[in-house]
Structure formats: structure tokens, C-alpha cells
């Protein structure tokens, strides 16, 4: 980080505080700005061209991605088949692709088609790492290993914050948020670049930018009786509410309560008309939780010009992946939902004409154990993730297959918990690089990134030149 860069950031931070301080007075005048959400600033990214958005699809619970994407090469498939036992998917049930090197879960036909069309890539054996480690190092150097591996909440937090050399509690912002802190300079207006369709998460809060959580079905809706833009309110009550909201509490939790109310109210005012004006993107299966969330992302993207957005980061979540038991039917349902949701989103982006400008990626708490616990799998580490979008150099595999061997060189022990070969830092940095972040800033966004190879600087070839 250069000195000039640092001072610029400090300048912006000072600006953020004065905006927060002044927002109460603005509230009285009915011209509130979202507290601490985003502040336009001039800088390195103010002149970024075009529009780009990153969409994080977080698979809550630890996705068994070893059963979503399976190696086709005979020796590897046999290894997989043996390690997974009754969990293994039969080779003839899997879907083949033009690349011949990977087989898709039978429920992922839509994703296979996008892969074959060159708009989807698979990044193999990615996981939460501080630095590259071997089986021997895992067993003898605990300080090189992220803490609380295999514990859902900590791994969700570490994966979404991606600074695992620091204890979980000491990391504040998420890596999406740290990117947004910089990229928001490309946008104008007071709205932040980050929007969640799955309420709170650790990925999006930044040191300067805060995400806004949006209802995935309806979008943000004005509060009845508490917003004089609705027909249920009264000007008089609204004026009193403005006066009350101008009060500045001392207790930090009260300060949060105040900011959350003002931000919610303002977000509805700023966004509800955008959602209402969004084009009809065709029928939606609202039983599909992912499709529902991603459809709202698409509707938000359709309002990008109205909102003066040139860089945006979205978050959607899909829970239920903790398949300790009854895995086969549960994974069938989840992979079907994943397939339909992503394929529907891809169609919507094509329809909006932004397919090349939006990149969607999956990640999860962790992968799962190769071994079976009766009728399911337990918490693992590395897993395979997908990156989808018109800019993606798709139809290809990135990273490398692990050794599918229980007790083998990639197993931390004897249950088939696989040591990742590619770090989330590298994965995230490649995505951030596509969004336009500089290499030096990416080293700030991912402080552990310097412990890995520099292939992320050329995005591992993941994107079309």
C-alpha cells in the first residue's frame, strides 16, 4: 500500500464520520442519507469503465461438492468411487460434458449445458487456507492451519472474511466488503454497492461500505404507517418520527438500532421504485429459494443505471447442505435447486443483456468428508466451486483434482477430509481482479494472499481475455 493511497483512505474515513454525524439533521429535513452505507469519493476507481457485478452464492452447511462435479478419467473415478463407498454416484448416472474431463451430478443438466456453452468453469479443491499445507504440515504445524476448521459458524465467518491468519474475532469486514470499500468509488450517489438477498452475512460488510438487505420476493417495501410515502401514514406523524430519529443515543446498541431503522426506511425509499420498474423476466418458481433470490438480483441489476451503479456485489444464500444423514435424497433436492436457480439467473442475465458483465460464483463453509457415516458425510475442508458468466473462460476446469484416497496424501487424517490445493484468497483475488481491483489493493483485501503463488494476477486464465 502506498503512502498516498493510505492518506486518501484516511481522508475518506474522516468524511464517513462527518456524514454519520450530520445525518440526523438531514433526517429532520426529510433528506436522510443511508448512515455509513456508502460515500462517493474520488480516487483510483472513480473512472472504472462499464458495469460489472459479482454475485456470491453461499452454500450454507458445507456443500458436498465432491458429488456435484466428479472426475471422469477412469483411474480417478475409480479412486473416487472407492473412497466414497455408498455415497459414490454411479458413473453411468453422471452427465458427461464436451470437455470429457468432468462429469456432472445428474441433477445439474442446466449447469452442464452452460459449461458446454463456455460460460461456466469449475475451480477444483478450493478451501480456507492461511498458506499452502501438506498432510505432514497439517499434522505437525497447527499454527499454519486456520482455527476451528470443521466448525460451521467459524468456517462460514472465515470463508466470508478471508483473513484466516488472524483469529476469527479480530477480523471485521468481509472480503466482499473490503472490495466494495474500493469499488464504490466507481458509483455515484449515496447507495452502497452491496446488496444481500439473504439478510445478514459476514461477506459484505466493509470498513466503509455497508450492504443493504433486500426482501428476495418483494424487494424493499415502504413501511406502512411509518413512511409518509405510503397511504397509511400521516405527514404529522412522519414529521414527529423525523424529529425522533434525529436524536443521537449514547448507548452503542441504541446507535445501531437507530441506524438500522433509518437505513431500512431509506433503502425502501431509494429502491422500491427501481424494483417496481424492473422488466418482466418471465415466470419464477418461488419454491426455489435460490431462483427467488437471484431473480431479485437480476431486477436490481436492471436498475443499475437509474442507481448510478458501475460496480456491485450481491450475496445470496442457500441453506441445507449439512448432509450428515439421508444425503442422497437431500443432495438430489439441493442440486436440483442449485441447477434451476443458476440456470434461471443465467437466462435472466442474457435477457437483460448483461451476461458478460455479471460473474456468479459459489462457495461454502467447507467441503465434506469423502467417507460415509452411515448415510451421509461429515465436515470436510476443500471442495469444488463453480464460476458462471459470459466473461468466464468456461467449459474448463481450474485447479487440480485432489487424491481421492482415504488416508492419502491429501487427507488430513483417515476420514477423507481433503486439504485444499487452492486457497479462497486466490479464488477471491481472481474474481476481484476481474472486477478491476489493482494487484496491490488485492493484497490488502486478502492479507494472506501473499503466502500463495501469483497466478491470481492473471486471474488463472479464468476470464476471457
Amino acid at each position: 500500500m502506498t503512502k498516498s493511497y493510505q492518506s486518501r483512505r484516511q481522508f475518506i474515513k474522516a468524511g464517513a464520520y462527518s456524514a454519520l454525524f450530520g445525518s440526523g439533521a438531514a433526517a429532520v429535513n426529510g433528506k436522510m442519507s443511508l448512515i455509513g452505507s456508502a460515500l462517493a469519493a474520488q480516487g483510483d476507481y472513480a473512472s472504472l469503465p462499464g458495469y460489472k457485478a459479482l454475485v456470491c452464492v453461499f452454500l450454507y452447511g458445507g456443500s458436498d461438492s465432491f458429488n456435484l462435479f466428479v472426475p471422469s478419467e477412469q483411474g480417478r473415478y475409480q479412486q473416487y468411487n472407492q473412497a466414497r463407498g455408498q455415497l459414490a454416484l454411479a458413473q453411468n448416472s453422471l452427465l458427461s460434458s464436451t470437455s470429457l474431463s468432468v462429469l456432472f451430478n445428474p441433477n445439474l443438466a442446466g449447469l452442464r449445458d452452460i459449461y458446454d456453452a463456455g460460460d461456466l468453469a469449475i475451480v477444483r479443491n478450493v478451501g480456507n487456507l492461511i498458506q499452502p499445507v501438506t498432510r505432514n504440515e497439517y499434522q505437525n504445524h497447527p499454527e499454519r492451519i486456520p482455527t476451528e476448521l470443521f466448525a460451521h459458524n467459524h468456517q462460514q465467518e472465515q470463508v466470508q472474511k478471508s483473513w484466516s491468519s488472524r483469529p476469527t474475532g479480530l477480523v471485521g469486514a468481509g472480503w466482499g466488503g473490503r472490495m466494495a470499500d474500493l469499488l464504490m468509488e466507481a458509483n455515484s450517489g449515496s447507495l452502497p454497492p452491496s446488496y444481500s438477498m439473504n439478510n445478514s452475512n459476514f461477506f459484505q460488510p466493509g470498513n466503509r461500505s455497508r450492504p443493504i438487505a433486500i426482501n428476495p420476493l418483494s424487494g424493499p417495501r415502504l413501511m406502512d404507517y411509518l413512511d409518509n410515502n405510503t397511504n397509511t401514514s400521516s405527514d404529522q406523524r412522519d414529521a414527529t418520527l423525523m424529529q425522533l430519529l434525529a436524536l443521537q443515543p449514547q448507548n452503542p446498541i441504541e446507535q445501531f438500532a437507530r441506524a438500522s431503522f433509518i437505513n431500512a426506511r431509506d433503502s425502501a425509499r431509494a429502491l422500491s421504485s427501481v424494483i417496481e420498474a424492473s422488466p418482466d423476466l418471465g415466470p419464477l418458481n418461488t419454491n426455489n429459494r435460490l431462483a427467488t433470490q437471484l431473480r431479485m438480483v437480476a431486477r436490481m441489476i436492471s436498475g443499475r443505471e437509474q442507481l448510478n451503479m458501475r460496480r456491485q456485489i450481491f450475496f445470496v444464500g442457500l441453506g441445507g447442505w449439512d448432509t450428515h444423514d439421508n444425503q442422497t435424497p437431500r443432495l438430489n433436492a439441493l442440486s436440483t435447486e442449485l441447477n434451476e436457480g443458476l440456470a434461471d439467473f443465467n437466462r435472466a442475465l442474457v435477457e437483460l443483456g448483461v451476461q458478460n458483465q455479471v460473474t456468479t460464483f459459489t462457495t461454502s463453509d467447507f467441503g465434506r468428508s469423502l467417507t460415509i457415516n452411515g448415510d451421509g458425510s461429515d465436515h470436510g475442508w476443500g471442495g469444488h466451486y463453480l464460476v458462471m458468466g459470459g466473461a468466464v473462460n468456461g467449459g474448463s476446469l481450474y485447479g487440480s483434482w485432489p487424491e481421492y484416497a482415504v488416508g492419502g496424501s491429501d487427507d488430513v487424517g483417515d476420514k477423507g477430509r481433503i486439504i485444499p490445493s487452492l486457497s479462497l484468497n486466490q479464488y477471491g483475488a481472481a474474481l476481484g481482479s476481474w472486477m478491476g481491483l489493482s494487484n496491490s489493493d488485492l493484497l490488502d483485501v486478502f492479507p494472506d494472499l501473499r503466502n500463495f503463488d501469483s497466478g491470481w494476477q492473471t486471474q488463472y486464465g479464468l476470464f476471457n481475455a
Partner: protein, 600 residues
């Protein structure tokens, strides 16, 4: 004393002297004659608990006796009344589903300590029995949800209910999980189990949770079989991991005061992956009762969700298990014997007390208890004074009677917790005497959205997204809270989305469904608040705000907030319609405000 948080005696007295409209179904608990005024609670945290020998009566601030009926007793000073009212209201915010004037008077009549002891004796009624008698079925959640609301709003055993709700957020099961979505009677029974154990012993609670078939499904201990080398399978680690991480000892070793123990500046893991594997072998060989079908399907007639799981010896791993604290469960034991040894090893772990009681404090009293508070309660957990470990009645008593609970609002700048959305709604309906629309006898048929309230509130009973509850106990949003090293667990469901939908929901049930005498709205359709008494009080806005400050904010309304509300009320006409508007506007505005949203 702060003038603006004074409760004028006249308004309280007026409230108590009011008659109810004929159609209300509840009886006002009038305790005027028992109002006591013995001591200043700020000088003794547990004072005011013994009613005086002679009942005393109240006077107006200017020394005149109230003019209402039933007053023939000598006066006491208004300042004393005020402190007592506030102390009672604050206790009720922590110990019930929402403060009411009736309950304030009950606490004042009994004294805080006796009120708590009285609550321990309130039996309550079964959620399962209600569900069975009201059309509940395995796939129909409505009766179960109805009972939760009936209990929260109307039952006498408020403290049991509030503690059980807290326990349901620690020992989490959820009907979001597909199988449990079709085990609604089992969930009602699970909730009964939490209620039954709320004032029992933690060790019994832990065992009942462990052997619940509902938990068995949720964390896959049900039908967990010993390793089978032939099919390359091994024991399921799910329950073994979460019972330690979430239900008992936590990830890191704790001091008695809840702070982490450190070695070379680093926290100390309570258990390793190998420990989990050992415990996973303990929890093998359990499945549904009242059948001999080990692999009975959860939706089949053989799946018994109403009785604890039973051992199936052939599936139990009988090898030796090396457990925490050097405990060894030797080879050859039965599933029950192994389980007893394993749960004892967790129960006796030194981290259990601080780990568990801190979460209970967070659910009831404050998000950031001091180390001293945690330590005092953890000591009671470890020994209730009679050599008993895990006495939850003693723990609940210690939590509520602690000086920090009783006086933290005036001694600790960071005291308090964000109100959970569900508890905001129950507060509204309790404080303003919710009434069913004609011909209805439960809350969900009166307020259909309650059936799917989690989509608005981010929470509903037994409906968390995962075993990690609606929010994490260590959640700290970026900004002032995190910068101060504090946490605010409930803030995780104060997303913009939930803030919008929660406020719309609550405001609708204030402004649209109300009874105020000749002025009313929507009473024939849905559950409505009865604000007729407050509407009369609203002729004098000062009195109205006194009452609302007490019942909604435990007397903590800041001066500037009160002044703004006063201006608003003064500007509304003093006719029946304007008075009803004064009440509705005050309630809905107060319930959006930070000083209300943080329970202090």
C-alpha cells in the same frame, strides 16, 4: 429524580380503577390495595421484595389523595412509587413476554423475589396436549404455533415460558429441516420438554435433549450406527460435535467468569477432532421407541416422535472410548451406560457453567454481561448452595436477582439488549390486552401471518435456519458496537429487510386493529389491541406518556424523546378520535425508537 420519567400516581391509579369494556375476555387483576412502597430499589438490589406489614396507598405528587374509588389508605411518597414501578417493569421485561400494568402491580404486591418464587410454582399447560386437542398433526404446525402465542400472551407461567423460549434458542431444533417440518407434534413435545426442564437440572435437560427423537433427527444421532468396516462406514459426528460446541462446553476453555483461558496468548480448544470421533462412537445405537425397526423412516407409522429414543444394542459401538477430562468409558458397556458417562463428562466440565449461563443472561437480561455477573451466576450453576450442580431454578433466580440485572441500567453504559422481534409483538399484545376478533379463540386464525412470521421477523418458535439459531451469541455488527468490543446478537436479524417487515407488521396491528370505545378499527376481523383505557387517559397527554413510558420502556424514556412526543400529542385534537390517535401514534412511534428497542 428526572422529572420526565416520573410516573404520576394519578395516572397509575386511574389505570387501575378503570373498568373494562364488556367484550373483553380477561379480568383485570386489581391490586390497588396491595401496592407497596417500602424501599428504594436503588439502594438494595433485592430490596422491595418483602411487602410491608400494612398496605399503603398512593397520593398525587401535590400531596392530594387520588379521587378515584377504593382509596381510603394513607399516602406514601410518589418518588418511592416511581422507583418501585420502574423496578417491577424492568424485571418483567427480562422475565416475561412483555410488561403489563397488571404484572407490575403483582410484582409490587409480592416483591421481586417472591414474584420469581411464585413463578416457579406456576404449572402452565402442555403444548402437545393443546396441539392434539386443536387439530394439530405431524404436518400441520398451526396448532403448535397457536399454543406458543397463547402461552406468550395469556399464560400465568410467564417466567417458565420466557426461559423455555431462551432454551429453545440454545438447544435448537427447527422445522425448517424438512423431516421436522413433518414432525410438528414431536416439536410441541420437545418444547414441553424444555418447559418442564426450565426450572429443573441442566444434567436432566442435557439428557432429555440428547434422547429426544426430534433432536435425534435434527442432528442425526437417531439411527447412528457403529462403524462397519465391511461397508466402509463410521459413526456420524454431527451430534457429537454440536452438543459440545453449542449445548454444553463451547469451542474454547473458559474461566469461571466466561472469559477465555489463554495459553501463550492463544485460546485453548476445548476438544479436538479426535475427541469428536470418540464421542461420536458413544452416541451410536439409538433409534425410535415402540418399534423394533432400527431403520424406520421418519414419515412412517413407526417413527415415534413423542417418546425418547431407545437403544438398539446391535448398533452400539461397545469399544472403549477416551473422553474429555481423562474420562474413559471402558469396553463392553451398554448404550445407556456409555451415554451416562459421556454426558457426565460434559456436565462436569468446568466450562459448562460460564458457557451456558452467559447465553441465558444474554437471552434474558443483557448482551454484554460483565465478567463479574457471569461469574456470580456460574458459581450458582456449579453449586446452588446445597451442593447441587446445574440447578436451573437457582440459576434463573441468580440471573434475575443479580445487582447487574436489577441496576445495570444505571450503572453500566453498555447495559441492555436489542429486543427480539417476536418479543416486541408479544409485548404489544400483552401491554394492550389483545382481544380476539368475534368467534375466534386463538392468535393465528386472528392474525394469519403469524403462521409464517419468520419471513417478516427473522424468527419464529422452533424455526431457526440452522442449529446456530436465528442469530449468533457473539455477533457484533461493524461500527460502534464492534469498535467498543461489544456484541449484539439480535442485531443479526435487524437487517434492513427484517426491519421493514417487522415494523410494518407491528404498526399495522397498532393502527389498523384496535378498540378505543366508540372509536375502533378492524375488531371484527383480526386480533386487536384494547386501548380504550389509554384513550381516556389521552385527554391528558402527560398522563398517557407516563403510562406508556412505564409499560413499554420501564420508565427509561429520554427527556428529549418525551418532549417531541408531547408536542405531537398536543397537536392532535382532544376528541375521541384524536385521543385514540394520540394513543396509537405514541405506541407505534415509541416502538420504533432506539430507547425502546434496546431493553434496559
Amino acid at each position: 429524580m428526572n422529572k420526565d420519567i416520573q410516573i404520576t400516581v394519578t395516572s397509575i391509579y386511574d389505570f387501575l380503577a378503570r373498568s373494562r369494556p364488556a367484550q373483553t375476555r380477561k379480568t383485570l387483576f386489581v391490586v390497588i390495595a396491595l401496592i407497596t412502597g417500602c424501599s428504594d430499589s436503588s439502594s438494595n438490589p433485592i430490596a422491595g421484595t418483602n411487602p410491608p406489614e400494612t398496605p399503603e396507598v398512593i397520593s398525587t405528587p401535590d400531596g392530594n389523595s387520588p379521587t378515584a374509588e377504593n382509596n381510603s389508605n394513607p399516602a406514601i411518597s410518589p418518588a418511592t412509587i416511581e422507583a418501585e414501578d420502574i423496578a417491577a417493569a424492568r424485571l418483567l421485561t427480562q422475565a416475561t413476554f412483555g410488561t403489563t400494568i397488571e404484572d407490575i402491580n403483582r410484582v409490587k404486591a409480592l416483591g421481586i423475589e417472591q414474584w420469581i418464587d411464585d413463578q416457579f410454582t406456576q404449572p402452565g399447560s402442555s403444548h402437545l396436549a393443546y396441539a392434539l386437542n386443536n387439530g394439530g398433526s405431524s404436518s400441520n404446525a398451526e396448532a403448535r404455533v397457536n399454543k406458543w402465542w397463547l402461552d406468550a400472551i395469556d399464560s400465568e407461567d410467564q417466567l417458565r415460558g420466557r426461559v423455555a423460549f431462551a432454551l429453545s434458542q440454545i438447544f435448537v431444533v427447527s422445522d425448517v429441516q424438512q423431516t421436522l417440518g413433518n414432525a410438528q407434534l414431536g416439536l410441541a413435545d420437545y418444547y414441553d420438554m424444555l418447559r418442564d426442564n426450565a426450572f429443573g437440572n441442566y444434567r436432566d435437560l442435557l439428557e432429555d435433549v440428547t434422547l429426544s427423537p426430534v433432536m435425534g433427527v435434527y442432528l442425526s444421532m437417531l439411527q447412528n450406527a457403529r462403524a462397519n468396516p465391511a461397508s466402509n462406514t463410521r459413526a456420524d459426528e454431527n451430534f457429537a460435535r454440536e452438543v459440545m460446541q453449542l449445548f454444553s462446553i463451547g469451542l474454547h476453555e473458559l474461566n469461571l467468569d466466561g472469559t477465555p483461558k489463554l495459553a501463550n496468548g492463544r485460546q485453548i480448544a476445548t476438544y479436538t477432532q479426535d475427541d469428536i470421533a470418540e464421542y461420536a462412537r458413544v452416541y451410536t445405537g439409538w433409534a425410535y421407541a415402540n418399534t423394533d425397526r432400527w431403520d424406520a423412516q421418519p414419515l412412517s407409522q413407526y417413527a415415534d416422535f413423542l417418546n425418547p429414543m431407545v437403544p438398539y444394542p446391535q448398533y452400539h459401538d461397545t469399544g472403549e472410548k477416551r473422553l474429555l477430562g481423562g474420562v474413559v468409558s471402558p469396553a463392553g458397556l451398554t448404550a445407556e451406560e456409555d451415554l451416562r458417562i459421556a454426558l457426565d463428562s460434559l456436565f462436569n466440565h468446568p466450562s459448562v457453567g460460564p458457557f451456558f449461563v452467559k447465553q441465558l443472561i444474554q437471552r434474558l437480561v443483557t448482551s454484554n454481561p460483565t465478567a463479574g455477573y457471569v461469574e456470580r451466576v456460574a458459581r450458582i450453576f456449579n453449586n446452588n448452595g446445597e451442593g447441587v450442580r446445574g440447578d436451573l431454578q437457582a440459576v434463573v433466580r441468580a440471573i434475575l436477582l443479580d445487582d447487574e440485572a436489577r441496576n445495570g441500567h444505571s450503572t453500566n453504559a453498555n447495559f441492555g439488549k436489542l429486543r427480539e422481534p417476536l418479543l416486541r409483538m408479544t409485548h404489544l399484545w400483552r401491554a394492550f390486552d389483545a382481544q380476539f376478533a368475534d368467534g375466534r379463540n386463538n392468535y393465528t386464525s386472528n392474525a394469519p401471518q403469524l403462521k409464517n412470521i419468520a419471513s417478516s421477523f427473522g424468527q419464529s418458535a422452533l424455526n431457526a435456519a440452522s442449529v446456530f439459531n436465528f442469530f449468533h451469541p457473539d455477533y457484533a455488527p461493524l461500527g460502534a458496537i464492534r469498535d467498543a468490543g461489544l456484541v449484539a446478537p439480535e442485531s443479526e436479524i435487524y437487517s434492513e429487510n427484517y426491519v421493514l417487515s417487522t415494523n410494518t407488521f407491528i404498526s399495522t396491528y397498532i393502527h389498523k386493529f384496535y378498540y378505543a370505545g366508540t372509536e375502533a378499527g378492524g375488531v371484527q376481523f383480526l386480533t386487536y389491541i384494547n386501548i380504550e383505557p389509554q384513550t381516556r387517559t389521552a385527554a391528558n397527554p402527560e398522563d398517557l406518556l407516563d403510562e406508556l413510558n412505564l409499560v413499554l420502556m420501564s420508565g427509561q424514556m429520554p427527556d428529549d424523546m418525551r418532549n417531541i412526543l408531547m408536542q405531537h400529542l398536543d397537536a392532535l385534537p382532544n376528541d375521541i378520535r384524536g385521543r385514540a390517535q394520540r394513543v396509537k401514534d405514541s405506541i407505534s412511534l415509541i416502538m420504533t425508537q432506539p430507547a425502546y428497542l434496546v431493553q434496559k
